[in-house]
Amino acid sequence: MTFATPFGLIGLTAVPLIIILYIMKQKREKVVVSSHILWQKVLRDMQAATPWQKLRKNLLLFLQLLCAVLIVLALSGFALKSGVHTSQPVVIAIDSSLSMSSTDVKPTRLDAAKKDAQKYVGELPPGTPVTVVNLNREPDVLLYASDSVNEIRASIESIEQTKTYTDVRRAEELLLSLKNRQPDALIVLFSDMPIRVGKEEVRFSNYKKQSDNVAVVRFTHAFRDDGITAMSILRNQGDNDSEVSVSLYGDDSFIDSQLVTVPKNGTRTVWWSNVPLSVKTLHCVIDTEDILDADNHAYDTVYAGKPVKVLLVTNGNYFLEKVFSVIEGIEFTRTLPDELAEYKGYDLYVLDGVIPDKFPEDGNVVVFNPVPNDHFAVGGWMDTPVIGPSEHVIFKHLENPGFSVGRTRIIEKPDWAETIIEYNGNPVIFEGLIYSTRILVFGFNIYETDLPIRTEFPIMISNILSEYSPASGTRISGIVTGEPVRFMLQPGTVKASVITPDGRRIDIAPPVPPQPFIQTGEPGIYKVLQDNSVNAAESYFVVNLPDEQQMENVENAVRETGGTDGTVIPFRENVKLFNLPLLFAALLILVIEWWCYANRRYA
């Protein structure tokens, strides 16, 4: 026997209350009679007519007490442990997301969930096929339909705490697909939030006991004349206002601390001014302890390096000249092809209708309107209608990424290149890598497109600058735990490595370009070391927990999936709930009590 909601037992206090009320019930009028002899005969006659009359004296009290107890049991989620007598397949889904590391359930929610899951497995009849699913950012099936208790136990035990949020949609899809494969399977969810799986029944063991947690959900900075101003946004997820101490560190040195009150279920912005320009990394931390420590930290990197040097080589292109000249933070130079002696000394070369015999090695190259050259075959022209859109990074933030092109060069895509946009098999925009130099080619003259007159044009150029200036290779931002990082190393780099927050050194190059870096499970400051055989460069990137927006997405997903629409049934151990039968029984007893009262002969 157990109780799903034990606090409902508080209702038992109604029992003494009923007894007191019963004692204090209506006073009977005293009437003196000559003898009880005749009355006792009457009572005996009545008892003979209804043998249970003897009990009836206090029957109403008993019925009221019974009714109260039944209601209390129903509210308490009275349940009986019921052994599973069939070998119904079971899918055990354990949530290992960040929130499961909360300590409101000791030692942590995840530890408690794993322990309960192990206990549950122990109660299953032998031979029950069990599937174990680990739910986090990338839900994963650890074990499929195994009836080996040892395997199941080992699989559950292997689940480790992650610092990501659960992708609810993927979790639902995965569980739904498992359910489709085993239609009679019972899904048992050990988590701190309900997840609906289509219209399937989910037994939900909830580990969220309280939500008193304050987190740093946003942390960024901006340059001011007098230094750096940083901004932290704190969010209180609890139902009470919370006063917390929050501190700012720069390059591991203490800078400032503030005591702030964060309203319940609200946010509070904390400003940090006069942060020295010399710092390269910032760390904001909530010093006040709460149930979840991981989200008390947020990190940021400060990029205050030299401006990007851009060289535009063209015989004359008003649009390109204009757009680069208005972009702040770059050092822009325009030259005629004939005036340029050597392609050297710039971070980004923009070539309009010009292609040198040898691409520069110290910067990346963007080519517009390519002419025949030694690097790829360029033929005549072909008419091209509207092109795009594309998911490529240069089209990021564009409201309408498609644009009209009058004609494009007929180009044979070289082996080193990847097509970004093509028309009838002809690459219109493509990119590639020659040695360590990145080449981006637009196979048309922008004068023959509507691109320059569109509002998206400066944004696209800005995207190109961000992506193809060599420094962008290390200017990595917005990385959240578990998210892979794609490095664009500086041209000429032959060796690179990453030092993680816990001090591990992980080599990422060679090969060049490096594979995506996936060891971002730990939030913190990561150091990137690049060696181009001449000198070594050092840069940083930070990994934070998913931000508030992502949390809201998760919550929305929960809402959309209707986490409480009845298909997610509270579950604790292997039990059978009796809420409804108990309530019906209470109602029945209430009716009987009323009947007895209405038909009472004597009390």
């Binding site: 003196v32 000559s34 003898s35 005749l38 009355w39 009390a603």
Partner: protein, 284 residues
């Protein structure tokens, strides 16, 4: 308490002429008629009391004992009339109280008996006989009997059989008039049987109050037993009162059957009846 006033007494005198306790020959066949004279065998003496015929005083005995004795003859010997008056607390119940009606009836019956020159004993009883008042043997001693009845107090519970068995009997055959409400622990049957065993011609005067015969109760009540103070909780309703009526009928029929079985004259009386009506019912 005046249980008999002059008006009532006059009525009883008239009734006494018309009525008399009918004694079966086999019970007291020697209860005589006064007109049969003195030619019969001498039987006994007894001390003179007011109202005795002077002619029967044995002056020789007076000479010897300095006390007046009257001669009794076999055919003149009075029938002893014992009035067993229930004085348990239950008799205090009713409007009017049953005990009042019972005492008035007892007085009336005593008067009738004394007018017939019977010896009258009054035995109040509850769980035991509370002494014997009398004998009263002449009409003039009626006032003594009335005084005795007036000072009798009601108390305790009633147990007729126990009371009779503990009683010391000095008389033989006779008349026993039992005045009770019948609400007696252990019932009346054994007691009545005992009286018959003691060769008594028995009159059972069963007095109940109107409140007992047709109780008017309603609602949630605590019924307090006047004798034991025990409490029974009832919620009086039409159904409950119907059951009571049935129970009462069974109770009365049971007593009637017992009386019939033992040859006892049974009369059911109601405490609010006029005395004449009661006397007529009992001795008419």
């Amino acid at each position: 308490m005046k249980i008999i006033d002059n008006e009532t007494l006059k009525k009883i005198q008239k009734l006494a002429i018309k009525t008399g306790l009918k004694i079966d020959s086999h019970a007291a066949g020697n209860r005589k008629s006064l007109s049969k004279g003195s030619s019969v065998e001498f039987s006994d003496f007894r001390e003179y009391s007011a109202g005795d015929d002077f002619r029967r005083i044995d002056w020789n005995a007076y000479g010897r004992f300095d006390k007046l004795f009257v001669k009794l003859y076999m055919e003149e010997r009075e029938a002893p009339v014992r009035i067993f008056l229930d004085t348990s607390l239950s008799m205090n119940y009713g409007e009017p109280e049953k005990i009042t009606a019972a005492k008035r009836l007892a007085a009336a019956l005593a008067y009738i008996s004394l007018n017939a020159y019977d010896r009258v004993y009054i035995n109040p009883w509850n769980s035991m006989v509370q002494g014997t008042f009398g004998p009263y043997s002449t009409p003039y001693s009626f006032i003594k009997a009335v005084n005795a009845l007036e000072i009798i107090e009601n108390r305790g519970e009633s147990n007729f059989t126990e009371a009779l068995r503990k009683m010391e009997w000095k008389t033989g055959r006779g008349i026993s008039i039992v005045i009770t409400d019948g609400l007696v622990e252990g019932g009346l049957e054994e007691g009545l049987k005992y009286l018959r065993y003691m060769k008594q011609e028995v009159y059972l005067c069963h007095i109940l109050s109107p409140q007992e015969l047709a109780p008017e109760l309603d609602g949630a009540l605590e019924l307090v037993d006047i004798e034991t103070n025990d409490i029974i909780e009832v919620t009086a309703s039409g159904e409950l009162l119907d059951m009571y009526e049935k129970s009462l009928k069974r109770f009365l029929n049971n007593i009637k059957q017992q009386c019939k079985k033992f040859g006892i004259r049974y009369t059911l009386l109601q405490s609010d009846m006029a005395l004449e009506e009661m006397v007529l019912k009992v001795a008419g």
